[in-house]
């Protein structure tokens, strides 16, 4: 479980994150939603230690991550997998090398064992047989799936996904969402997903935090969203005509 408690972050005079608290549970797809620029990615970067906190606590299974000693922090990081918005695959490495990278770095598996694990992860994201391709030879959806394969290669306890559906067609989006949800349930991982995609929210959102102007504005589940009377959340989720029909249908 990951707990964030009263975290705040400013860049210069601008307060981006203002006293946000939330619990991310294992075995559930925990979603952070909100408008562009509301601070979702900043929270994610604070959580994984890419930005320094101004105030507050981030607890990984009870350990306060930002104040851990470098060695202990590194140990926590080894348990983290992350799916980046653009994949962040290493350009100079093949898919096999990319997925096998955390295994190379942190395990003492034999070559054959590593290859087995890589093949398993690639098949998990439906990229079997693509081992020797380079990232430049992959489509956007394949890059995201490959990034997910790399993220799960070393059996992470925590999985972070930064806008896994951005730039994808609806069909591929669903594939990615289902993969994330399946992996979360199967391995009881604490998964944190940032998304703008309302289909994703309604499909996999089990524990949702709505960020508005850097604050935790609303929390709930996908079912509760459909009945919300929170004005800002309503304006965000049901901005499109299609979603308004969904809302009316759900109410009736």
């Amino acid at each position: 479980m990951i707990e964030i408690k009263n975290i705040s972050k400013s860049f210069g005079d601008r307060k981006i994150i203002d006293d946000v608290s939330f619990n991310f549970y294992p075995g559930k797809t925990n979603l952070m939603i909100g408008e562009s620029g509301c601070g979702k990615t900043t929270i994610l970067k604070l959580m994984v230690g890419l930005h320094a906190l101004d105030e507050g606590h981030i607890l990984y299974s009870g350990a306060d991550f930002p104040i851990l000693a470098p060695k202990a922090k590194q140990e926590v990081r080894k348990k983290i997998g992350m799916l980046f918005q653009a994949g962040a695959l290493f350009d100079s490495q093949t898919l096999e090398e990319n997925v096998g990278f955390p295994l190379d770095m942190f395990t003492h598996l034999t070559k054959a064992e590593k290859l087995d694990r890589v093949n398993f992860c690639l098949s998990r994201v439906k990229l079997e047989g693509k081992n020797k391709l380079y990232p430049s030879e992959l489509s956007g959806g394949m890059k995201k799936r490959a990034s997910l394969a790399r993220a799960i290669a070393n059996n992470p306890r925590y999985l972070f996904c930064d806008e896994p559906n951005s730039g994808l067609d609806p069909k591929t989006s669903i594939v990615i969402d289902e993969l994330i949800q399946d992996i979360t349930k199967e391995y009881n991982i604490t998964t944190v997903v940032i998304t703008h995609d309302m289909n994703s929210v309604l499909q996999i959102g089990e524990n949702i935090m709505f960020i508005y102007e850097g604050k935790n504005w609303w929390t709930g589940t996908k079912d509760e969203i459909l009945k919300t009377d929170n004005k800002e959340l309503y304006n965000f989720v049901f901005a499109s005509e299609f979603m308004q029909h969904v809302f009316k249908a759900a109410k009736s």
Partner: protein, 247 residues
Amino acid sequence: MTLFFHIGRYFMLLFRVFSKPEKFSVYWRQIVYEINSLGIGSLSIVCIISIFMGGVITIQAAFGFSSPWIPLYAVGYTTRESMLLEFCPTIVSLILAGKIGSNIASEVGAMRITEQIDALEIMGVNSASYLILPKILASIIINPFLIAISMFLGLLGGYLMGISSGACTSYEYIFGIQAMFEPWKLYYSFTKVIVFAFIITSVASYFGYYTTGGALEVGKSSTRAVVIASVLILIFNLILTQLFLAR
């Protein structure tokens, strides 16, 4: 103030670069990869430049030594001294600063803006060490070999030019390049090469590592890396020359 900020951040980065690697076998593989990429990849340009440089120095020396009081073997002697002491270690390093420096800065910079460095950090890998240390070590290992080849080819270029232009005879040139040879001067040359290799790779990596923004900034980092590395090479050339050769 900006200068002190960069100096401080550069040394803090170096501190991270030289911390204990996570896994030696992975780093060793990276070093071999970088030796091939940075060293072997620069071989052709070093060869071409060295041959032409040697040829030009021979012609210039022959042109300058037109007095009958100066023996013609001085052409070979001058070519050797110029190539060994200055042209091969310094000028070739300056050219490598352009080639390798821009290559490293743009590669690391692109990794930064495409979140590949963030990915390494999140995995628990010391990204500074993993990305930069193999480049520095590879360059320190391979550059002396490149410069040794450059010295040989420079002298060969001088020989070919000297003979073909009639500036001196084969015997005079070979006698000249052997005359009054002091082996310790090679220590001076190769010390410079190693220092310059460190400057090129570490400075270029520094500018690449701290790139922010997009493709435009990667280009700017690359240019800045080459300019700063070149200036530092010239400054350290002066310092090392004063230390080794001043009487």
